[in-house]
């Protein structure tokens, strides 16, 4: 796909997301429309943002990190610890206008740190070291009462008022999420065409050659983790506000693996896969228990993901290419036959 076409398709996707709440209101009763807007699309996009940070690293740098949920959690916990009104009050007293930037700053630092620690590793070793870091942070947060309130985490992070409107309102939340996603998504599309993005893709394809050209591979890698940290941090802040707080379960093994699953089922070939995968994941996570036996619904979720990955190893986004490839030679054959 040419960049121009990608942009057009992305803009169409954005337009769909912008009008989706109105369409839902037209076809569903009001409370269900709000549920779909906030708890399916909104929640999906928030986790899509965190998955986007992984997709960015994987697609353009070739780094698969399991610590992106952790980075998101660093941002979420920073906001929860500092914000006025959170229960229990740990530092508290600061308005969201300060704590959200502080959270994002902390997540960038966390991203850079993880990038620096794992700078020499690749492939399965990178996966292992990021997993170890993620579990280390998770266990630390879970057992630390003084700063993170242990297993119960920090609650009552209700979010700021934007232009006098409460963040808890379905539509304020939803459009804030859509706006964040749009900015970060198009930001990534821009970034990967910049010199930095091109070097990053060079590192993915052949780090040794990039090094020979005079670029510092390590610094570029660390910077890429920093960028991914910022994206994950945005997702982490939004997820914390969505959940009205944060607890260690939100950054545990299950949550970290979920981000990887979202990225893989969406497809690691293009950043848009993160959002596609995340909305599919959210729909199944929410409704699997309704569709299938409630005591076994995780089986259904697993099965669906297995099918997606089996049918299309490059995720849902890769499907289109597969279908095209499938149809084209067939048409050619039919044209030849008398």
């Amino acid at each position: 796909m040419t960049p121009a076409r990608t942009t057009v398709i992305s803009l169409i996707g954005l337009a769909v997301l912008v009008v989706a709440p109105l369409v839902l209101l037209a076809i569903l009763p009001q409370n269900q429309a709000q549920f779909w807007t906030s708890n399916i699309l909104g929640r999906g996009l928030v986790f899509g943002l965190i998955a986007l940070s992984l997709t960015f690293l994987a697609t353009y740098g070739g780094f698969i990190s399991l610590a992106q949920m952790t980075v998101a959690g660093v941002a979420g916990y920073t906001v929860a610890v500092l914000t006025q009104g959170a229960v229990p009050t740990i530092v508290g007293g600061l308005p969201y206008a300060l704590t959200i930037p502080a959270g994002l700053f902390a997540s960038v630092l966390a991203g850079l740190l993880i990038g620096a620690i794992s700078v020499k590793t690749r492939d399965i070793y990178l996966l292992m070291i990021t997993l170890a870091l993620a579990m280390g942070v998770f266990r630390f947060v879970e057992t630390n009462i003084a700063w993170f309130n242990g297993y119960e985490g920090i609650r009552n992070v209700v979010g700021p008022d934007i232009f006098g409107l409460s963040f808890r309102s379905t539509y304020v939340f939803y459009y804030s999420v859509v706006a964040s996603c749009a900015v970060l998504y198009f930001g990534i599309l821009y970034l990967v065409r910049s010199p930095f993005g091109l070097v990053l893709q060079g590192i993915r394809d052949n780090p040794r050659r990039v090094s020979a050209l005079g670029y510092n591979v390590g610094q570029h890698r660390i910077a890429a983790f920093g960028v991914a940290g910022f994206i994950a941090g945005c997702g982490g802040v939004l997820a914390t506000i969505y959940n009205i707080g944060i607890s260690p379960g939100s950054i545990g093994l299950g949550a970290s693996v979920n981000i990887l699953i979202i990225s893989v089922i969406g497809g690691l070939g293009h950043p848009i896969g993160a959002f596609v995968g995340s909305i599919i994941f959210t729909v199944f996570d929410t409704f699997a228990a309704t569709i299938y036996d409630r005591e076994r619904f995780n089986t259904l979720i697993g099965l669906v993901f297995l099918i997606i990955v089996l049918v299309s190893p490059d995720g849902v986004v890769g499907l289109k290419g597969r279908l095209m490839a499938l149809l084209k030679p067939k048409q050619a054959k039919e044209a030849k036959s008398p």
Binding site: N31, I145, E152, R155, V283, R294, I307, V311, L319, L326
Partner: protein
């Protein structure tokens, strides 16, 4: 090669259609003239308390079946959701039930932190009620209670009533080691134990471990070296099983005192070396397998007849009985208003607050001003009966309130139970 891909595509097409069909079916609004009462359920069918959550649903299903899915003349639709003992998951499920399924009330959740999260969520609702399932953290109703949150089961602190005094005065033990989960519910239990035990001159050493811990080796080594004369185990579910198994394998010898979800059918029905140690364990709680009350004997008989061949326990678990008790509260409220939920459920909620009934154990249940149950607590001993370990009630404390009889202002002044405030204050 080509055909292979075609087949895959076909499978994909089929599954995509199925998914789409499923989604659309869900999106269709449920409209009915004589609308049934919609009761949502949140219980843990995954994670450390999966067996407890399943039993909760068993007892609820059994009661609804007995009433032919009708309460106060209205049909009941029971929509079950599963959580994994994490607050954010329970919250997501509750939101789905309220906003998507449009339930009138939620029965749940099962564990402490979930309970606090749903209590906070219930405050944001109008015209909906959340009735606790089996969660037992004290602060869910004691501090910042929500007007829409009701709890007909006693809490973790109440369940320990009488246990501390029994250990100190009857068993004459002065030093104990307490192993407990590091979250709201065990805090409440430890608090309830310590209030009596420390007042009577006991000394305690705490060993906390987060929920989901699998390796207790370091703690067990410390306990075996300490001068504790008894071990109080306030774990439950898979954590409790892991702790007890490892303690048995490490050759633990101390007399055991159990938290309420430790000495329970969920633990006693699991196989392993822990069972030998658990015989003789003393515990406190709202239920006992063997309790000489006709209501309870009848309840156990019905439970066994219904569930023994479908994965049920030999005797209903604490979570099952708690869910059943809370369902009774809902039923009492609904019957008092003849199933009328109009007026944002105001009359229904008033009726629930005033409800009085006997729970499956034959204990009287009523609510205090925080919509928290006041009921009977049993002291139990685990004995071998009929070839299996069972909890046998040997003492019954009647009508225990949430502050264990301590005046409320004085009790509140002790502060909220936490690992830094485990309630151990010498008299």
């Amino acid at each position: 090669m080509k055909t292979k891909i075609t087949r895959r595509t076909a499978i994909l097409g089929a599954s995509a259609t199925a998914v789409a069909a499923g989604t659309f079916k869900l999106a269709a609004p449920a409209i009915a003239q004589n609308a049934p009462i919609k009761l949502g359920g949140v219980a843990t069918l995954e994670g450390p308390f999966a067996t407890g959550g399943q039993d909760g649903y068993r007892c609820v299903t059994m009661e609804l079946e007995r009433r032919n899915w009708t309460i106060a003349g209205r049909r009941v639709e029971f929509i079950r959701e599963s959580s994994n003992a994490q607050a954010d998951v329970a919250l997501a499920r509750a939101r789905k039930l309220i906003e998507q399924d449009n339930v009138d009330m939620i029965l749940g959740p099962l564990s402490g932190a979930e309970g606090i999260a749903l209590r906070d969520y219930s405050r944001t609702l109008t015209g909906k009620s959340i009735i606790n399932g089996s969660s037992g953290a004290a602060d869910t109703t004691l501090r910042n209670p929500s007007p829409n949150f009701f709890r007909f089961n006693t809490d973790g602190t109440q369940w320990m009533a009488g246990l501390g005094n029994h250990v100190r005065r009857v068993m004459n033990i002065q030093d104990v080691a307490i192993v407990a989960g590091d979250y709201a519910f065990p805090y409440a239990q430890v608090f309830g134990f310590n209030i009596e035990f420390c007042r009577a001159g006991g000394r305690v050493q705490h060993y906390w471990a987060p929920l989901g811990t699998t390796d207790f080796g370091a703690q067990i080594a410390q306990i075996n070296r300490s001068n504790a004369r008894a071990l109080v185990v306030v774990h439950g579910g898979t954590d409790g099983l892991a702790f007890m198994t490892q303690y048995a394998q490490a050759g633990g010898q101390l007399p055991l005192i159990g938290g309420s979800i430790m000495a329970d059918a969920t633990m006693l029905s699991s196989r392993g070396p822990h069972r030998r140690l658990m015989v003789g364990m003393i515990s406190g709680g709202p239920i006992a397998d063997i309790n000489d009350d006709p209501m309870w004997r009848d309840y156990v008989a019905r439970y066994r007849a219904r569930w023994l061949n479908e994965g049920g326990f030999q005797s209903p678990s604490i979570h099952g009985v708690n869910y059943a008790t809370n369902l009774q509260g809902i039923i009492a409220g609904l019957e008092a208003v003849s199933g009328d939920l109009s007026g944002n459920q105001a009359a229904f909620q008033r009726a629930m607050s005033a409800a009085k009934f006997k729970n499956p154990m034959g204990a009287d249940v009523s609510l205090d001003h925080n919509r928290q149950a006041v009921s009977d607590i049993f002291l139990n001993r685990i004995e071998e009966r009929d070839g299996r370990a069972q909890t046998v009630a040997f003492e019954r404390a009647r009508q225990i309130n949430q502050t264990l009889g301590v005046p409320e202002a004085q009790f509140m002044a002790l502060g909220a139970p936490s690992r830094d405030n485990p309630g151990c204050v010498a008299a």
